[in-house]
Symmetry: C2
Subunit: 204 residues, 2 copies
């Protein structure tokens, strides 16, 4: 037995499984496994069951494709939301982040990823054709592209723009600039260049 | 829905359960939950089942109380190990760390914790009486105390020493000093003081 060998096959199996999670190495996995051994059986079962149930029974909104326990999610089913504005995001975390601002009253379209040839993710793997259909059905005045300001985000923005440009809908993209509380001297050149190019009239 | 609200009760339940793990906050838990959603059902089931099995079926060695799938662990059952030397450690991770040095050929005694009044852990919660019995049964020449050099470790060392001092067994404690590759100027005063007090003849 050396540092990488465990005194129990059960422990080794659990550590191996836990360390498959992203960002969790074998040392952290061992720490978590030993923590679980000290918890009540009911608590450990509750954790394991919640993970299984999540994977087995998760559903998605038929309109915006966000994670949802109902056919139509709470946002799409909310009559006070502006259905004519669609904000296109990569995943549920982005929906939660934008909802957290309490600034947005429109609806979403969750792509379920971003075009990334390096990772083998193409347009067909994402909810892009369903977005085009949604816009073509009418009643949409604006599509806001709110993807990450990365090469992949730009590629995806461009692809969606090409698909939607003939529909006549207004297509916008979230502002790029210097982040709140960022120090100018540490801001990268691309961001600073874009912030300068995208300058707006000063308001008091 | 705001930043702390999830679009699905299943997702929320899983995130809540995962974030109960030590060192995992709700943001990391959400990232892990969404990662699991992208994995095959079989992989997620394998993770959940391994955690359950670990907790339900784990066993401990009847001699040294280390985690073991058999009544007597591999180390205690190994005829080439020196059964007359017992190294007292807090938990299985310490056993793995010492085994990793490839320097120790004796056996272990796993306390399953450390005396910590702050956390409500007293001597009766640990495998201390079983250690005393083991020594009293005879055949033991040395007990090495290898607990962490903390207040709790010192307290536990002292308690065990008092319990064993009448048995006549040799009781030793692992050396405390400056760690390999540590810079002297950043070493704390207690460690440096102990390293000076515990100085040994220079050997080429």
């Amino acid at each position: 037995m050396n540092h990488s060998q465990y005194p129990s096959a059960l422990l080794q199996k659990a550590v191996t499984e836990i360390s498959r999670l992203p960002g969790i190495g074998s040392k952290t996995a061992l720490r978590l496994a030993l923590h679980l051994l000290r918890q009540d059986v009911a608590e450990v079962d509750s954790l394991a069951d919640s993970i299984k149930e999540l994977r087995h029974h998760i559903g998605y909104c038929k309109v915006c494709h966000n994670i949802s326990d109902t056919d139509i999610c709470e946002i799409c089913g909310n009559t006070s939301r502006d259905k004519s504005t669609i904000c296109v995001v990569e995943n549920v975390r982005d929906v939660m982040a934008i909802e957290g601002t309490l600034q947005y009253k429109g609806v979403y379209h969750v792509l379920g990823g971003i075009i990334s040839p390096m990772d083998g993710v193409g347009p067909a793997d994402l909810e892009i054709s369903s977005l085009v259909e949604r816009v073509q059905q009418g009643g949409i005045s604006e599509v806001i592209l709110a993807l990450s300001p990365t090469m992949e985000g730009d590629t995806t923005n461009f692809y969606i723009y090409r698909k939607l440009q003939d529909t006549g809908v207004r297509i916008t993209v979230i502002a790029r600039g210097v982040a709140q509380n960022d120090e100018l001297q540490y801001t990268d050149e691309v961001t600073l260049g874009r912030a300068l190019a995208g300058r707006t009239p000063f308001k008091m």
